[in-house]
């Protein structure tokens, strides 16, 4: 039997997926408008990656904080605690069925729950761009964001002698953090060239709009120079060495296209490599919900199309923050607020002049933040190849252990009909537990270069629920093949 969602009452006005800056801001803003809101996050604690707080039982001597984010996160989380927002943590949203109302399914431990909501805001955040290079599956190779997360939450450092490899302004910040926390930073390699004077001048002009950012950047560069941490521009880690775990890396100077220069290799000993090639959005739930996707040419990927109020093509569904386009927490906070406000207006809360009055300053601040981000992206290239350093033996799909060579052979065999689904069927790439998050972009890139089309024109892996792996028991715990039943089991422990 098919249940018409329109016949069902909603459990809440709004569900916000993701408890980082955008999701927190959206939930707080919606609550302020009088919207009943449920905030669902994958992690045991809210704050996302940037506002991660130390685990409450972490001894003081092991607390490794980064001050400005820590304080901003604390302030937001305390506002959330004072709100009426229902908070569900350690819960993974696996499906969203559009309709009136939406039906959002999430898995928490061994059980699946669902909630019906009239509006949904996706604030799913971003993750480190997977850059496949020889040795990148060795223990001791960690994504920079993950290393930062473990340090902030648990006071655990990723290694004793660390090489940071990647690109972007966060790389230097992270190098300073690691050094302050007592890690020996053996080298920092930045793909981009040393920022030119005119880029710095442009940033400084924009910097009036984001003085903290500029000051922080200069302080980081100064700190690293003072502590003699080697920072190599236009240099990459081209190979990670070791058999059981990381023992070192090969550094190479690279040209403007990121290609290693012959004869510029040298070896650096290290027990850990942090890969920080910038962040990529997680738009899987938007795709799964049927949002129209558009190419983001700068980042060479498809993201949900959004209107001025961050509404997607699916009525009542919004997408905010780094989950759509990585612009950092300042932009994410503003986008979250705007989406929360707009969802409230759709629900008849905070309309007319009150809406406009609240929206106007947010829009103005968002415009300034975006202008600053645009200037920043002139210094650091956003679209970076994720597999140009891979050799034929390099694993691209970490879950199913499919190598670059195997993928290239499959693509050549299937050409000109090679698309992601065909290649997935031939090689199993993208079929593993991560559901393609670690390999999809690189598989698309290989297909694009072999077939001569733009990466964003490669037909992608087909999104299917569940959006994340679900234990079989959790599926069996809730048999509702017909799309819904009236009785939503509620776990009182999981809602605070």
């Amino acid at each position: 039997m098919t249940v018409d969602h329109a016949d069902l009452a909603a459990d809440v006005d709004l569900v916000v997926v993701g408890g980082g800056p955008a999701g927190l801001a959206a939930a707080i803003e919606a609550d302020r408008c009088g919207v009943s809101t449920r905030l669902i996050d994958d992690r045991p604690t809210l704050g996302g990656q940037i506002f991660r707080q130390p685990s409450p039982s972490l001894p003081d001597r092991r607390v490794l904080t980064t001050k400005p984010e820590h304080a901003r996160g604390l302030a937001l989380l305390s506002r959330l605690r004072q709100s009426r927002v229902q908070q569900v943590t350690s819960a993974t949203v696996v499906d969203i069925s559009p309709g009136g109302p939406f039906r959002i399914q999430y898995v928490r431990g061994d059980r699946t729950d669902s909630v019906r909501a009239r509006q949904v805001i996706l604030a799913t955040g971003a993750y480190d761009r997977p850059v496949a290079l020889p040795g990148w599956t060795l223990p001791g190779v960690v994504a920079a964001g993950g290393a930062q997360a473990m340090a902030k939450s648990h006071g655990v450092l990723p290694g004793r002698r660390v090489v940071l490899a990647g690109s972007g302004p966060l790389l230097l910040t992270f190098a300073v953090q690691l050094h302050r926390w007592g890690v020996q930073v053996a080298a920092v390699t930045e793909l981009a060239g040393r920022p030119r004077a005119r880029d710095l001048a442009a940033l400084a002009r924009r910097g009036a709009l984001a003085p903290d950012y500029i000051r922080q950047g200069l302080q980081c560069a100064g700190y690293l120079a003072a502590h003699r941490v080697p920072v190599h521009f236009r240099t990459r880690v081209t190979r990670i060495l070791g058999s059981e775990q990381v023992t070192g890396v090969i550094l190479s100077r690279v040209d403007h296209g990121g290609r290693p220069l012959v004869g510029s290799d040298r070896t650096v000993q290290a027990d850990c490599v942090c890969l920080g090639y910038g962040l990529v959005p997680s738009p899987e739930l938007a795709r799964l919900s049927g949002c129209e996707m558009v190419p983001d040419l700068e980042r060479a990927m498809n993201v949900p199309a959004r209107g001025a109020l961050l509404e997607t093509s699916v009525p009542g569904l919004f997408a905010a923050g780094d989950g759509v386009a990585v612009r950092g927490s300042a932009v994410a906070l503003l986008e979250g607020q705007i989406a929360g406000l707009a969802a409230g207006r759709n629900l008849g809360r905070g309309t007319g002049e009150r809406f406009e009055q609240r929206l106007r300053p947010l829009r103005a601040r968002l415009g300034r933040s975006l202008a600053f981000q645009a200037t920043l992206s002139a210094v650091y290239p956003a679209a970076i190849s994720g597999c140009d350093l891979a050799t034929a033996e390099t694993v691209l799909c970490r879950c199913e252990e499919v190598t670059c060579g195997e993928l290239s052979a499959a693509i050549a065999a299937a050409a000109p009909l090679a698309d992601a689904s065909v290649v997935k069927g031939m090689t199993r790439a993208g079929m593993g537990l991560c559901q393609g998050r670690m390999c999809a972009a690189n598989v698309y890139e290989l297909i694009a270069s072999a077939t001569g089309v733009a990466v964003t024109a490669v037909s992608a892996f087909t999104p299917r629920p569940p959006a994340r792996p679900v234990p079989f028991g959790a599926v069996a715990s809730r048999v509702d093949y017909d799309g819904g039943d009236g009785d939503i089991p509620e776990d009182p422990d999981c809602i605070s």
Binding site: P44, S57, L58, P139, G146, H154
Partner: protein, 92 residues
């Protein structure tokens, strides 16, 4: 905040300590454990890669439940954590 009690769990039979609220990945890393399992196809060592619950490289068997992400699971007293037989994690 002062030091609280520790929790003790086992990894492949060896006793490991963690602070309450610490993820298995963090606790194992601070005990010097880097390699959490062997990959199915080539038997390569694997450890924590993304650290935020997305890559599933840090999967372990916790109290008999396979495919549990060490980075997303908080250590609890008495937990039995094991490197899973590679084939279990890969069945689809």
């Amino acid at each position: 905040m002062g030091e609280r009690t520790r929790v003790t769990f086992t990894f492949n039979g060896a006793s490991c300590q963690a602070t309450p609220g610490e993820s298995l990945a963090a606790a194992l890393l601070s005990s010097g454990v880097r390699s959490l399992r062997r990959s199915r196809r080539t038997g390569e060592p694997r450890g924590v890669y993304c650290g935020i619950g997305l890559c599933f490289d840090c999967i372990v068997t916790v109290d008999g439940r396979p495919n549990t992400r060490a980075c997303m699971t908080l250590a609890e007293d008495g937990m039995r954590v094991e490197s899973q037989a590679a084939s279990i994690g890969q069945q689809t």
